[in-house]
């Protein structure tokens, strides 16, 4: 065993009084050795991030503070050292990378200046040496053209490039410990794979101990040596990656792993002959507008959707998969007429709705409904649940009594207490809110449901429940579903057929099983290869 870097003993972190529980983290023990990656896994609210922050001395004081226990690093207890010592340690001995590199980087400083800052505070080097060192760092993290990037500002870089710059900054002084707090959650899967690879390589070279916080067991399977599973502030299971992933002992770990969608595609059902929705060469571009009085230069034009043809048959679930910026959400919003498409036809059961204005569209609204991504933004915080769900039928001419009656039934169908009718959205959890969003979409008894990343904002166990619910409803109401997702595991679970989108175009389409087993297009292959934890066979997990 290599030398011990960090040892957290019996650590408890207190939450402010009046919170729903007393401790954010309770009696946590954790050890990290040089050259080792320890993954802390848990759902939101499990206390995994606060544990990491405590190591950096970055708890949101005075509300949240260490109650008892110690964090030993280099013979010192971090919970007791002075602020000066903490400052000295941060960045040079322990450094951290965050989930969202856009907010973690200073938007008005160039990348070079931000790296330079670290050198200026911690070591004495002259300007020329510092610049050379910075460029070398950027080379190390495989950024293209480092001498350009050093002068670039964060907004000029892509998400992956920003996270690489963050890693370069974090590793600038060769810290002994790197804390990574969900560093790839905001990134696309292909970029995520590259970043994980980079962290692994850098770790090997510098013999760093990595404390990796994540909610994604796929990432754990790819990167972890040892795994710590947290639930509601307590560590419920610790062990080597192989032990925890393949033979989880604790019931909570077992349920978490069981909830992860399998990458094994479902068997496609028999395809109906009946086409309910068809797009014909639909296109949409943004940003070509002219400014007031024609002054100033026109914006750059982005072709978000280019000549897309899809076909949704009766009763099937068609997946639209792709990374961010591939145009999949724009496509969905054009189909549901939240946006006007520039060109092409959208046929809803044979009727072209692409040119309909809002008045003409109103009578067709009830046939096609949408479930939104963010359960927190998609419900009006000032409306009661019952009103949110029943307003659709009332707008379409149903009587108030009928609509309310129907709403109570729907609440029951989506697994909520019909008594929730008079409550407000903030009284519900994310998963429950998503159920409310689904009930709202179903209230109009649509034929087609467009689901735009309906589970990507949810924890994995909740995700499984929502997917199950969608499947149940689809069967019960004979819905056809357009399912937009970036997650190939989710697509494999729910979709009969899949269309893969890249740069606004559909590059490949076909039955899910066939497409996953034998991808034709380069991009599909790359996407499949980048799925985290793809080599990990859940089926063996008992």
């Amino acid at each position: 065993m290599k030398n011990l870097l960090l040892s957290i003993n019996d650590l408890s972190i207190l939450l402010p009084e009046g919170s729903d529980r007393q401790y954010a983290v309770q009696n946590a023990d954790l050890k990290l050795h040089a050259g080792e990656t320890v993954c802390v896994v848990g759902e939101s609210g499990s206390g995994k991030s606060l544990t990491a922050r405590a190591v950096m001395g970055l708890l949101p004081a005075p509300h949240v503070r260490v109650g008892s226990g110690e964090i030993m690093f280099g013979g010192q207890d971090i919970t007791k050292v002075s602020n000066e010592r903490l400052r000295e340690m941060r960045g040079s001995e322990i450094s951290m990378i965050f989930q969202e590199p856009m907010t973690a980087l200073n938007p008005v400083m160039s990348i070079g200046d931000q790296i330079d800052e670290i050198f200026r505070y911690h070591v004495s080097m002259n300007k020329k040496e510092r610049v050379e060192k910075s460029i070398r760092l950027l080379e190390d993290v495989n950024l293209p053209d480092p001498s350009r990037i050093i002068n670039a500002y964060p907004h000029e870089l892509s998400g992956g490039q920003r996270q690489r710059s963050m890693i370069a900054m974090a590793l600038a002084l060769g810290p002994k410990i790197l804390i990574a707090d969900e560093p790839t959650t905001a990134l696309d899967v292909t970029t995520q794979a590259q970043i994980l690879e980079l962290i692994k390589n850098m770790q090997k070279r510098l013999d760093t101990g990595v404390l990796f916080i994540t909610h994604d067991f796929g990432v754990v399977a790819d990167i972890a040596d040892r795994v710590i599973v947290m639930q509601e502030g307590k560590i419920v299971e610790t062990g080597t990656a192989r032990q925890v992933l393949n033979k989880p002992k604790h019931a909570y770990t077992q349920s978490l792993i069981a909830a992860i969608p399998r990458l094994k595609p479902r068997q496609a059902r028999k395809r109906s002959e009946n086409i309910v929705l068809r797009t014909d060469d639909i296109s949409k571009s943004f940003g070509s507008g002219i400014s007031f009085f024609g002054l100033g230069k026109g914006g750059r034009e982005v072709k978000a959707v280019q000549k897309v043809n899809i076909e949704l048959r009766k009763g099937e679930t068609l997946g639209i998969v792709g990374e961010s910026g591939s145009g999949k959400s724009t496509l969905a919003r054009c189909i549901i007429k939240l946006m006007e498409s520039d060109d092409g036809r959208i046929e809803l059961e044979g009727v072209d709705i692409s040119k309909f204005d809002r008045k003409n569209m109103r009578s067709h609204r009830k046939r096609i409904q949408m479930v939104f991504q963010d359960p927190f933004a998609s419900l009006n915080p000032r409306s009661r649940i019952g009103d949110i769900i029943s307003q659709g039928p009332i707008l379409q001419g149903a009587s108030k009594e009928d609509a309310h009656e129907n709403t109570r039934e729907l609440l029951d169908i989506v697994g909520l207490d019909p008594r929730s009718f008079d409550r407000f959205p903030h009284e519900f959890s994310g998963g429950q809110r998503q159920r409310i969003g689904i009930a709202r979409a179903l209230a109009l008894k649509p034929d087609i449901l467009v689901a735009d990343e309906p589970v990507s904002a949810l924890d994995v166990s909740i995700q499984a429940q929502i997917l199950e619910l969608l499947d149940k409803i689809r069967k019960q109401m004979d819905l056809s579903m357009l399912f937009i997702t970036h997650d190939l595991r989710v697509a494999a679970q729910v979709c009969d057929n899949v269309a893969v989108m890249q740069y606004g175009q559909v590059v490949e389409t076909g039955p899910t099983a066939k497409l996953f087993a034998n991808p034709k297009h380069e991009y599909t292959k790359a996407l499949l290869a980048a799925v985290p934890g793809k080599d990990w066979h859940f089926s063996q997990v008992k």
């Binding site: 549901i336 096609i368 409904q369 933004a377 000032r382 409306s383 707008l395």
Partner: protein, 277 residues
Amino acid sequence: MADFWNRYKRNRMAVLGLFIIVLILIMASTASLFYPDDPFRLVGKPLSGPLENGFLLGSDSLGRDVASGIVHGAKTSLLIGLIATLVSIFIGIFFGAFAGYYGGRLDDFLMRVTEIFQTIPSFVFAILLVAIMKPSISSIVIAIAVVSWPGVARLVRGEFLSLKNREFVQACHTLGMGDMSIMLREILPNCLSPIIVIGSLMVATAILIESGLAFLGLGDPNIMSWGFQIGAGRTMLRSAWWVCTFPGIAILVTVLAINLIGEGLNDALNPRLKERQ
């Protein structure tokens, strides 16, 4: 509601402000009980000092009771402040909501109009309007409303711009809801908190503008107000200090109290901003 009060009372100064305003309201509503006479009536020896000749706060150059004027003037100040604010908030919401919600050409047009109003110094503009319309309660209210709505319009426009792209608003579009219902029932309730806060502060500004107009002799000549009292006493500031001083203190305390309330409302309605401290 109880929750709201709990958050409000955490700001001690805001509670003090509310207390002062309640006192002033009581004072204004019971004015005729304590001073049943018309405040314009000449009731005693001119230029008596405070506590002289039966005057609590002295009398002015014509022998009018300063205390009576303050008590009756409170009604004018608060009434004008409230009505003018309500009118300007109404105009502001109308402009802001349409500009923010529809965007494009309409937004450009409405915002350019707003900017024209913003570029004219507001007090000079108010003087001009009152001078044109002849001084009266309604013309003063109109003048104050006309100079103070642009701030509300900008605020409401910003709120509408950010709220109209929220998913819950888009969901209403997919249900086939009309624009008016979306604006009134979905978006507007969600931007009420900042409007209430800015409104409470605008009451204070309105009282100041009214006093300023009355001071310059542009107040309604038939209605007693604090600004009128100060205007009447300004030439004798050195010989009879009490004529200007007490109405001045009344304005100061009222405006301060309203500002404290506004601050407290801001803390209570936007609790997340407060927690940063």
